[in-house]
């Protein structure tokens, strides 16, 4: 028996989300907290479940693309690409070179837009209100370009199995170049304001640390994995489209804390802009659609295709039974897999860190819940 007076305390249960400004959608965490310390976290997902995978089984291949637009709704084109590539592989079709270049350019611009959104909202999560204005202003340039090219600001439905819906407008190259130039200046502006900001460093360095081993065993991919120092990038490891012909670095962190994950995404913006410039120079003239039947009807079989989404390694497992509708579409959503690391990162964190850590994972609930 201890002589000390025993105080009977219980951890407070704090429900964060699904309607909380910092959960980026409808994610829900149940934190058990002792004062400001987090003792445990239980994530709850499913608030945005729309049954996309099941729905895909009732749509023709061309229509499934629209469902993929709505998975990760801030990097639509990257999602379209992975499905389109899976279907192409199944059918043994290859998109013409011009289409591949344009797809790469648009995907990289989409990556920058997505990372800009991350930087802005992440700064907002840790309490800085200015970067979000800068990044949204820059992101708007990309959105405007997409609107010009695809006709839609977000749900583009522009990629097709075997190419593109149509060729890009005539002023595409010059518009892309001017957007790239401005984006670079805009990213730099945010970079100068935020990256080495004293309070920002205090809030993100050493917070939400996950080492390389844990990151791999949790199945993290994308910037979350590279933040821990693992230089795994699908664009380098399993090059697709025209990435083999482009020169780019894969930025990696070291400690796997929130700052490293932020830094990786920031550098990726610069790398993506570099890639866009190179790809634009190499883009050949030619058709943008492979010759073939208008209705895709892949032969019986199955295929797994994956690509580097802004959030990580997005994979599609596609099973065809020989009809014009897929038999099964299984998505490996990077946001969902990255969430696995959440619990490990939250060990010993403060309530304020919970927001910073969740933000640094950069999840999109449309993709987590599908």
């Amino acid at each position: 028996m201890s002589a000390e007076p025993q105080t009977d305390t219980v951890d407070m249960m704090l429900n964060m989300g699904p309607q909380h400004p910092a959960t980026h959608g409808v994610f829900r965490m149940v934190l058990s907290i002792d004062g400001e310390r987090i003792m445990g976290v239980r994530p709850h997902i499913g608030y945005l479940h729309r049954g996309s995978e099941k729905l895909s089984e009732h749509e023709s291949y061309g229509q499934v693309i629209t469902l993929f637009d709505r998975l990760d709704y801030v990097s639509n084109l990257n999602n379209e690409l992975v499905f389109v590539r899976a279907a192409e592989e199944l059918m043994g079709v290859e998109a013409p070179e011009r289409a591949q270049y344009i797809r790469t350019i648009l995907c990289e611009l989409n990556r920058v837009a997505s990372h800009l959104l991350f930087i802005g909202t992440y700064a907002l999560d840790v309490g800085a209100m200015t970067p979000v204005m800068y990044t949204f202003r820059e992101r708007e340039r990309v959105q405007n370009l997409f609107e010009h090219v695809t006709g839609a600001r977000m749900m583009h439905n522009y990629f097709r199995i075997g190419g593109l819906k149509e060729d890009v407008p005539g002023d595409f190259a010059e518009r892309v170049l001017s957007v790239v130039r401005r984006l670079r200046a805009g990213v730099e502006e945010t970079d100068r304001l935020l990256t080495f900001n004293e309070v920002y460093l205090a809030r993100t360095r050493g917070v939400g640390v996950i080492n390389a081993e844990d990151a791999i065993s949790c199945g993290l991919t994308g910037p979350c994995l590279r933040g821990s120092g693992v230089a795994y990038d699908v664009r380098k490891a399993y090059p697709y489209e025209v990435y083999e012909r482009l020169e780019f670095d894969v930025p990696v962190g070291e400690f796997g804390d929130c700052w490293d994950r932020y830094w990786v995404r920031l550098r990726e913006c610069y790398e993506s802009l570099r890639m866009v410039e190179q790809a634009l120079e190499q883009t050949p003239e030619g058709p943008v659609m492979a010759p073939g039947r208008r209705i895709a009807r892949p032969p019986k079989g199955e295929v797994y295709a994956h690509a580097e989404n802004p959030r990580g390694d997005i994979g599609v497992f596609l099973v065809s039974d020989g009809t014009d509708k897929p038999y099964r579409v299984k998505v490996r959503p990077p946001s969902f897999c990255n969430l696995v690391g959440l619990e490990r990162m939250m060990e010993g964190a403060y309530v304020a860190d919970a927001v910073a850590i969740l933000g640094s994972l950069d999840i999109v609930l449309g993709e987590v819940d599908r």
Binding site: L14, V126, M129, M133, V199, V250, E254, V351
Partner: protein
């Protein structure tokens, strides 16, 4: 002996003060939105009135017309009393803050003491607001506010004490008179910096907006408030910000005395004080546009490990200078030396490692490309 005339005079003064502060608050809201907008590449409000000047009025009217709801399990009486408990202390200290020579409602001999005594009280209101809301976020915010405000009260008191030691009076008007030749910010830079930082923490503005952090505790103690009661909190925040700015202007920037001396007409004196106060307010807004929010433990360690020791150092420096009769410039010299220590430490411990880390990553990426 208090006479009827005095009561009437104070009543009229308070009435004028209250209305003046309402106008000031509206102007601050407008100024903050415009200024932040400009800093962020936006234009701020433009629609209501010329330059959006009436936007704040429209917002205030909207808030007053909103339905005032309270959570079912809230402790109703405390819930509705808490906004006043926050607002009144912030307002009452204006009683003794002079805008020019003899232009205070009541120029108290112990003015600074009066300010200290009343400004502490707003903690009670915040904690009660958090507790009575019957919401976990509010409770968490209430706890945070208690921890934050109690910790930062000490450096404020100590830095004010420094001023009192140097000026030899607690009367704010006399402190201003003492700065005729040189403002105290030049003599006591350490105290001025600590006072402004602690003051910003005291009113909970970024980077110390921890107890109502929007992205964490969703408004903290204010989360359940709406309509007019929320407006009172809002008002209190701006009035308190203005108090801190005004005290900085009066106690450290020379008020109406510096740099034009004594032969300034009272109206010009008021204008000078207001100009200085608004300049400080703008600096506070600027900080808001630049910095993220600290974490509660970082806030506490900043308070207890940096600001409190620094404020004690300021007091000791001032006391030693008075006691041993050192020349006045030694105050400045010692303050700057003491102030340099945390600045250097911050760069060494925080900024430089991060820079080095980033450079290391960049080098590695380059090496990988070369391979």
């Amino acid at each position: 002996m208090i006479e009827a005339r005095d009561v009437l005079y104070i009543g009229a003064g308070l009435f004028a003060l209250f209305n003046g502060l309402m106008v000031v608050t509206l102007s601050l809201v407008w100024l903050e939105r415009k200024f932040l907008g400009r800093l962020q590449g936006r234009v701020g409000p433009t629609r209501v009135g010329p330059f959006g000047l009436l936007q704040a009025v429209a917002d205030a009217l909207k808030l007053l017309m909103k339905e005032d709801v309270s959570p079912g399990p809230a402790a109703r009486v405390i819930f509705y009393a808490a906004p006043l408990l926050v607002f009144v202390p912030g307002f009452i200290v204006w009683l003794t803050i002079p805008f020019a020579q003899d232009m205070a409602v009541r120029n108290l001999e112990l003015g600074i003491f009066f300010f200290i005594a009343f400004s502490v009280l707003s903690i009670v209101g915040l904690v009660l607001a958090g507790w009575s809301s019957a919401s976990k976020y509010a409770v968490l915010g209430g706890f945070r506010s208690a921890a934050q405000l109690v910790s930062y009260e000490i450096p404020i008191i100590m830095t004010l004490l420094t001023v009192v030691i140097v000026a030899g009076t607690m009367n704010i008007a006399e402190v201003v008179e003492a700065q005729a030749s040189v403002p105290y910010v030049a003599l006591l830079p350490l105290a001025a910096v600590v006072f402004l930082l602690a003051g910003i923490a005291e009113v909970g503005r970024t980077p110390f907006d921890i107890y109502f952090a929007e992205s964490e505790v969703v408004g903290g103690p204010f989360v359940e408030y709406s309509g007019a009661h929320w407006a009172v909190f809002f008002l209190a925040e701006y009035v308190s910000t203005f108090v801190i700015a005004a005290l900085t202007a009066l106690l450290f920037l020379g008020g109406w005395r510096w740099p034009f001396g004594a032969d300034l007409p009272p109206a010009a004196g008021v204008a000078l004080v207001l100009a200085k106060t608004y300049a400080v307010v703008l600096a506070i807004f600027w900080l808001r546009a630049t910095y993220p929010r600290l974490r509660i433990d970082q806030l506490m360690s900043l308070g207890w490990k940096a600001l409190i020791p620094l404020s004690f150092a300021a007091v000791i420096i001032a006391a030693a200078q008075r006691f041993y009769g050192w020349p006045t410039w030694s105050l400045t010299a010692l303050s700057v030396i003491v102030l340099a220590v945390p600045a250097i430490l911050q760069v060494r411990l925080q900024r430089r490692p991060a820079m080095e880390r980033a450079r290391r990553y960049a080098r590695r990426a380059m090496a990988e490309r070369a391979r």
